[in-house]
């Protein structure tokens, strides 16, 4: 376990070689699911963006902590399940949906969320997909030596993001932003020590919400109106007092 963590941290500090992959189409290969039928990969990404990761359940190394980390990160975000599709794909033909589900820490009593799918890549299409995603794998006896990949695929089948190893916080944030909206002209990277802002970017819905900082823009106008009313009241009261003071003199006058 300890070893796995060291390996993970090594992966995560590597500079991701994302350039060659961004916005390229992935091949729409058939994969095998729990129902053991072959289904094209597009049946998951054609409706909503797909987060794709590759792993195999017998992995003695990074696969288990890697998938668990992804699971935890996704659970921490309050992004609705119908906003994206999560696919864990195994390149080991001895795998099946059950073993993969177990790898992700799910079981019959603790089933995966509805937007999770576990599938196995048939040996025939392994090369093609691996090449397009940049998956490096080598068979070492019964096991595989491989890199850990997390990909975000658009509904057109284009790679929107490709992370080798565990994503950094920034990379996670970018991923969440990508899945929660199609096109927003802006997104926020405001730091932590901002005490308020005009608007808040809400990653769950991908929209901007007003924040109470906006009230600060209203203060000057509201305060001006208040000041005016106060001034008028003070002046009015002052004026009636003056009249009250002069009254006795007037009432004495006729006498």
């Amino acid at each position: 376990m300890c070893w796995a963590i060291i390996l993970l941290s090594f992966f995560s500090t590597q500079q991701p070689d994302e350039m060659g992959y961004l916005l390229k189409n992935i091949p729409d290969v058939p994969v095998r699911t729990a129902e053991s039928s072959l289904q094209p990969l597009s049946s998951w990404y054609s409706q909503k963006p797909m987060i794709l990761t590759l792993a195999y359940s017998r992995c003695p190394g990074v696969c288990s902590p890697y998938v668990l980390q992804i699971r935890d990160q996704l659970a921490m975000q309050s992004i609705a399940e119908d906003k994206f599709q999560m696919v864990v794909l195994s390149f080991d033909s001895t795998d099946n949906a059950q073993t993969l589900s177990k790898l992700a820490g799910y079981s019959k009593v603790n089933p995966p969320p509805s937007n999770w799918t576990f599938a196995v890549l048939p040996t025939e299409s392994r090369e093609e997909l691996a090449a397009s995603l940049g998956l490096k794998w080598k068979k070492l006896g019964e096991l595989y030596d491989h890199n850990s990949l997390l990909l975000l695929v658009s509904t057109e089948g284009k790679i929107l993001q490709r992370v080798e190893g565990l994503p950094s916080n920034d990379q996670w944030n970018r991923l969440f932003r990508e899945i929660t909206h199609e096109f927003v002209p802006v997104y926020s990277t405001l730091g932590e020590n901002i005490w308020t802002s005009c608007f808040r970017y809400d990653p769950a819905s991908g929209t901007w919400r007003m924040n109470w900082g906006l009230l600060l823009i209203l203060i000057p106008s509201v305060a001006t109106v208040c000041i005016l009313l106060i001034l008028q009241t003070i002046i009015r009261v002052g004026a009636t007092k003056k009249i009250a003071n002069t009254k006795p003199i007037i009432s004495h006058d006729p006498v």
Partner: protein
């Protein structure tokens, strides 16, 4: 003709009209008689001005850069980060200082007519990101710290575009220039 020059010509025409009107009235100031039907003329004047404003708003409001090419999928993302006093421009996200120094000063090349999405931000003060071709300003967006402004753009000409900082950002503001190649 560039938009800027069209605006300038329109301005000059308005300039001349206004000067002419004031000059004619000035000339008429010695004559006797006074203005007639002032109220009616004022009402006509007002309604013409009001109608013009509505017309111009109706024509120009739909043409904003915010939703430029919003319906299409960009084929290339370009990440831009500004920092006193240089730009880092890259096809990778630029998340930290290391990313910045890797891309600063590197000229990238993009395709003509492809839809590019510029993701523009700043690591320190507000800067401006503007695209110049042969000295003509074609497009711009602010680079504000804490925000990533997305500008979608298609380059219609091939060659080198100059990127100038258009928001005063300190002493070397004038020298904050980068380039992007279009093939």
């Amino acid at each position: 003709m560039t938009i800027q020059k069209e605006v300038f010509l329109f301005f000059i025409v308005m300039f001349l009209i206004i000067v002419l009107v004031f000059f004619l009235v000035f000339q008429a100031s010695g004559k006797s008689g006074g203005a007639q039907n002032v109220n009616r003329k004022r009402a006509i004047f007002f309604f013409i001005a009001f109608g013009t404003v509505l017309l111009v708003l109706g024509i120009t409001l739909p043409k904003t850069p915010y939703r430029l090419f919003a319906a299409e999928e960009p084929t290339q993302k370009v990440f831009v980060v500004a920092r006193q006093f240089s730009f880092a421009i890259s096809k990778f996200p630029i998340a930290n200082d290391d990313d910045f120094s890797m891309s600063a000063g590197v000229e990238i090349t993009v395709q003509k007519d492809e839809l590019i999405e510029f993701n523009v931000s700043s690591f320190d003060v507000s800067h401006g990101f503007s695209l110049y071709k042969d000295g003509v300003l074609k497009a711009q967006v602010q680079a504000m710290p804490g925000y990533v402004n997305r500008l979608r753009w298609k380059f219609s000409e091939s060659g080198t575009y100059d990127i100038l900082c258009l928001e005063y950002c300190g002493m070397a503001h004038a020298a904050m220039i980068a380039k992007i190649n279009v093939e």
